[in-house]
Amino acid sequence: MAFALGNVYAAEELSLLTWSGYAPQNLVDKFQKETGITVKVTNSNNEEMIAKLRATRGAGFDLAQPSQDRISSVQEKYNLYQPIDYSKIQSDLMIDSMLEAVKKSTMVADKAYAVPFCWGTSGLVVNRKFAPNASDYADILNAMYAGRISYRLKRPTLIALAFSMGENPFAKYSDAMAYKALMEKVGEAMIAGKPFVKNYWTNGDALLESMRSGEVHVAMAWDNGGWKLHAENPNIDFVAPRSGALGWIDTFAIPSKAENVDAAYKWINFMMQPENAAVFTNAEKYGTASAGSGQFLDAEIKGNFERCFPMKAIANIKWYPPVPAKLEEIEGLILDKVKAAK
């Protein structure tokens, strides 16, 4: 009898494919206490999430957390996700406008595929002591900070630099030729600025370590990283760039061959409870899509937003539209060229 019970208990498992920090241990424990479901967490990023699900054709995970702009095109092409049954979501827990925006951007053949979870921006993280004037993406190519610059060799950097050149890359998403020409221009600028780069970071914690030790003074990174450092060293802070921080929304999406769909919905509703969402935001500093969590947030979190995002900066955030297919290939070649250049 005990054996059978143990078996049933063990069978209730939620396999979650997400980003590092998105499933804090204390919330995983709390979820298990409330529902009896254990959560198995696999950390990943947008590209690997897609590759993993594509390799198994949508099996192996019950719930994934891709960014909202990376869903519709892969859904059209590889059918990795299943439509969300919004009746199972407690939509009153969410910021309405964000829910609607995500529904709209993940719409494929009249069905929507995602629910918002959190949001954040990419911008600059700057050590004010050494680089008081760094204020836009162009500064990651600036010879003034030679040897003290770090950024990721990934698509957000290309898009950010395009904005800082006064272009609007999102407007060219639909025109592959024009987009390619723009990316080549950005690539040339990156190659010209390559001698000033210290390294291309791949691991967020490693970047924070480089900023903390003073090896890097200007980086393009996520806002929460800057805020974490600001708490330790007031000289370092996130800066919303002049040409606009890049806004992203990470979501919940259910893979097409998920085995435990019920548990997936339970986790979504659990994570959007205001107090749970606040636990996550207080720890990771990301903005949340949960509507009522404001009262549970630390003063520091509110301070971060007030300090770095005055109304004008919020209005200037460039939200990622869905990425059409084929753009990644164009970007990939440019990034390879930058990496290969001396």
């Binding site: 897609i50 780069v197 390294n199 791949t202 990644e328 290939e329 990496k339 290969a340």
Partner: protein, 285 residues
């Protein structure tokens, strides 16, 4: 009796063959097929050699390829140059009771994962790292120097990672080298270098070749070390395969690259065997 024997052979061979077929042959066939597929502009899948043509038409791809091959050969050679005296010291110079201890010492770094080892090097070499700290404390440097993110650092890391795979086979062949051969050569008028090139290396050739094959393959297929220690200029062909699969979602191109790497490594190993007049069977023994 004979029947039983044969039955036993099948019994033990079947899992091996299944394993080889399901986990190695089948995926490679899948990759090979994928490498000859591409998409037209309107998204239709067709057969085409475009992925391979792409490789030759785009200089950064084949330059990276050549760079990876040349550096892998260089790493293999450097590993050999360091490993041979080390193996000689362990087998012929040091007292036998310390031999085991020294080998364990060599093995020790391999008890942690490659990632941890590479981070260890990064802690030592980075601008705010341990070595810089002491160099400044001791007055050898005025300004910290970035020792990471250079090709030389990357080679250092690759040689370090490969060392054991060269030392162990050379140690095992040198153990079978009769000391009196060395003494006889010395007695007949040979100096250290003659003994090295006429006696020790010819005797150790099978071990050197098998060590070199392993080191070369491991270096060629390494992803972590070039990426983390080489920094912004560390282009390695495996990284390009990864980028094709993961960042560009172009599995067809990635498969073609993977196959080219396979062909390259087979070719270099074959050439190496030809040049040293060894055959594979002798070397893997």
């Amino acid at each position: 009796m004979k029947k039983q024997k044969r039955w036993g052979l099948y019994f033990f061979l079947t899992p091996v063959l299944l394993w080889l077929f399901l986990l190695i042959v089948l995926p490679h066939i899948d990759l090979l097929i994928m490498s000859f597929r591409s998409e037209t502009i309107d998204g239709k899948a067709i057969w085409s050699p475009a992925n391979y043509l792409n490789f030759f038409e785009e200089p950064i791809y084949w330059l990276t390829f050549v760079r990876t091959a040349v550096y892998s050969i260089l790493v293999t050679f450097l590993t050999f140059v360091i490993a041979l005296p080390l193996a000689f010291y362990i087998t012929k110079v040091v007292a036998p009771r310390f031999q085991g201890f020294l080998l364990v010492l060599l093995l020790l770094p391999f008890w942690v994962s490659e990632l941890v080892r590479v981070y260890g090097w990064m802690i030592l070499l980075r601008e705010s790292g341990v070595i810089n700290h002491f160099m400044i404390k001791l007055g050898f440097l005025n300004q910290p120097v970035e020792m990471l993110y250079r090709d030389s650092t990357m080679i250092l890391g690759l040689v370090y990672t490969s060392m054991l795979f060269m030392v162990v086979p050379i140690v095992s062949v040198l153990e079978s080298l009769d000391n009196s051969l060395i003494e006889a050569a010395y007695d007949l008028g040979a100096n250290m270098w003659t003994i090295l090139f006429k006696i020790v290396i010819p005797h150790a050739t099978p071990g050197i070749v098998s060590g070199s094959i392993v080191v070369f393959m491991l270096t060629l297929g390494n992803y972590l070390t070039p990426n983390l220690m080489g920094g912004k200029n560390s282009l390695w062909f495996t990284e390009q395969i990864y980028n094709q699969f993961i960042a560009s979602f172009n599995w067809n191109q990635g498969s073609a690259f993977g196959f080219l790497l396979l062909v390259l490594s087979s070719l270099v190993v074959w050439l190496g065997l030809k040049l040293t007049k060894q055959n594979l069977r002798k070397v893997v023994q």
